[in-house]
């Protein structure tokens, strides 16, 4: 029945005969594949979240971008204030300390105990006797400053300072003193007589190269330790016997020269849990002792250092005469014979020592006796600061 033309009826008939096409799928499958409730929310959810996140980032970044430099200043201010807060805390500690000190001299006068042993903090000529003075430099917990701690070693065998240094660094009680745990060094120190140097040998897995703060600190501690205990001017490094040390920022170092560091001013550093401050030299060097004394009247909040002269020891003027520091006090001031004044006076003695002076004389002392010191006479500068006993 093939035709070249079809009538509408025939066509309609043909169309009605078109086969029924069945969907062979299981209705359950069809239902389960319907993403009715999941599909739509997701479509706006993801871009929506992205938009919210982008807006958040935008709003966080905008203030920084708009006022970049100002913001960083603010930030620095905050840091400053937090340091100041710390210092205030330390202050509170110290006032407590002072109260205790106020009470203790009376007790001592009753018991007739000798004041000198408890009040001085530095080591002086007459105390040393046959012993040897060793100074260890220990970083504070923030690793900002190095605190010198000195001790007298009574040594009957004629050991060198380096032997004693190596022997005694295990006995340092950093934690008790509120300083950071640094000793014993994981390095061996030997005297290299040929080169007049100290040979520092670190193990191959040493930790001192990790981060610029650590390595700067390590080198500074070595320099200070060596220069305050000897006249040696050179440090030679070796790693596990091989010459040189690998430090991240310094790179490969064979040796370091020690410059004699002088002309520092001494400040108070109150470590945590300690009433009596450590006397700590500033990082800065000063041109002359007058500037140094002026600086000592102020705090150094960035380093956590407190003024060592005020309020206990109000100095008017200083001058130098034949290796002696001549000090005139402010008029109409009274001095308290207490620990904080002793600390202030000792910081002045130590600063004088930094500038190569040998004695300190106060022209107009309001009191005659300050703890163990007779202020009417010239007083010698100490040998080393912050005496502590080991063991």
């Amino acid at each position: 029945m093939k035709k070249s033309e079809w009538s509408d009826k025939q066509l309609e008939e043909l169309l009605r005969q078109m086969p029924k096409i069945q969907d062979d799928r299981n209705p359950r499958d069809i239902y389960e594949n319907l993403p009715v409730r999941n599909k739509k929310p997701k479509q706006w959810l993801v871009p929506g979240l992205a938009t919210v996140a982008a807006l958040l980032i935008f709003f966080i970044l905008i203030p920084k971008l708009m006022v970049g430099p100002q913001y960083s200043e603010d930030h620095a201010g905050q840091e400053k204030s937090s340091v100041e807060r710390d210092i205030q805390k330390a202050d509170e500690n110290s006032t407590i300390a002072l109260k205790k000190e106020d009470a203790s001299p009376k007790a001592r006068t009753f018991s007739g105990a000798d004041k000198t042993q408890t009040s001085k903090t530095a080591i002086y000529d007459e105390e040393v006797g046959d012993g040897k003075v060793l100074t260890f430099w220990i970083p504070d917990p923030q690793i900002q400053i190095l605190v010198p701690v000195s001790t007298i070693i009574n040594d009957s065998n004629e050991k060198t300072w380096l032997e004693l240094f190596n022997e005694n660094m295990v006995n340092l009680k950093e934690q008790e003193w509120g300083l950071s745990e640094f000793y014993p060094l994981s390095a061996s120190l030997k005297l290299d007589e040929k080169n007049n140097a100290i040979l520092v040998d670190v193990p191959s897995n040493h930790q001192y190269g990790q981060g610029s703060a650590t390595e700067t600190n390590f080198i500074n501690v070595l320099k200070k330790d060596i220069s305050s205990n000897s006249d040696i001017k050179k440090i030679r490094f070796s790693t596990n016997g091989e010459p040189g040390i690998e430090l991240g920022n310094y790179g490969h170092q064979d040796e370091v020269r020690i410059k004699q560091q002088k002309n520092h001013a001494y400040f108070f550093y109150y470590s945590e849990g300690n009433d009596i401050p450590f006397l700590v030299p500033s990082i800065e060097n000063y041109e002359d002792i007058k500037t140094a004394v002026e600086e000592m009247k102020k705090d150094q909040p960035t380093l956590g250092l407190k003024s060592s002269l005020l309020p206990a020891l109000p100095i008017n003027e200083v001058s130098i005469k034949e290796k002696t520091l001549i000090v005139s006090m402010e008029d109409n001031t009274s001095l308290q014979d207490d620990q904080s004044t002793i600390n202030a006076y000792e910081s002045l003695l130590l600063t004088a020592k930094e500038f190569g002076l040998e004695k300190v004389f106060i022209t107009n002392p309001p009191i005659k006796n300050l703890g163990p010191f007779d202020l009417s006479k010239k007083n010698k500068v100490p040998l080393a600061p912050n005496q502590r006993t080991l063991q």
């Binding site: 093939k2 025939q10 209705p27």
Partner: protein, 183 residues
Amino acid sequence: MDSVFDELYQKYHHDVFQFLFYMVRNKEQAEDLVQEVYIRVFKSYRRFEGKSSEKTWLFSIARNVAIDFFRKQKGWKGRLLEKFDWSTDQLKDGYPIPEEIAVQREEIRWVYNCLEYCTLDQRAVIILRYIQDLSISETAQALGWTESKVKTTQHRSLKVLKKHMELSYEKEGLTSEKVRVER
């Protein structure tokens, strides 16, 4: 399983599927599209007012789904190119003929092939009127048209089919005898 889905499936699934199949002339596509129909139905089921019968409502949704499918398939690029490209009047789809059609008589196969040359509207009318056996008014409801528009579209689509049927007949060239049949 959802009772609404169950009911819809029982009553209309095969009709809707068949409609979509003849619209897109591809089984897999029809399966995907019927899925889309269900999604749209569930979204607007509460808004269904019962003005028309459920069946015509479902067909109107299915038709929209099919139109969207063709639009999406072409994309804006395809539509733009088509505007400037007169060499091909119609985009040919290369889908193979499904088995159900392949086993049929020659004429049925021709009709199936010629459906390709109808516009979407024409195809929809043909499917609804003849394959689904809907009345003129039901078709008008499903498409949202007036009855007269259904009639004219139906007339035109038959004409297109007839023309292409003749062409296929000539191409096949099985018999030389031409029989004119009165309309």
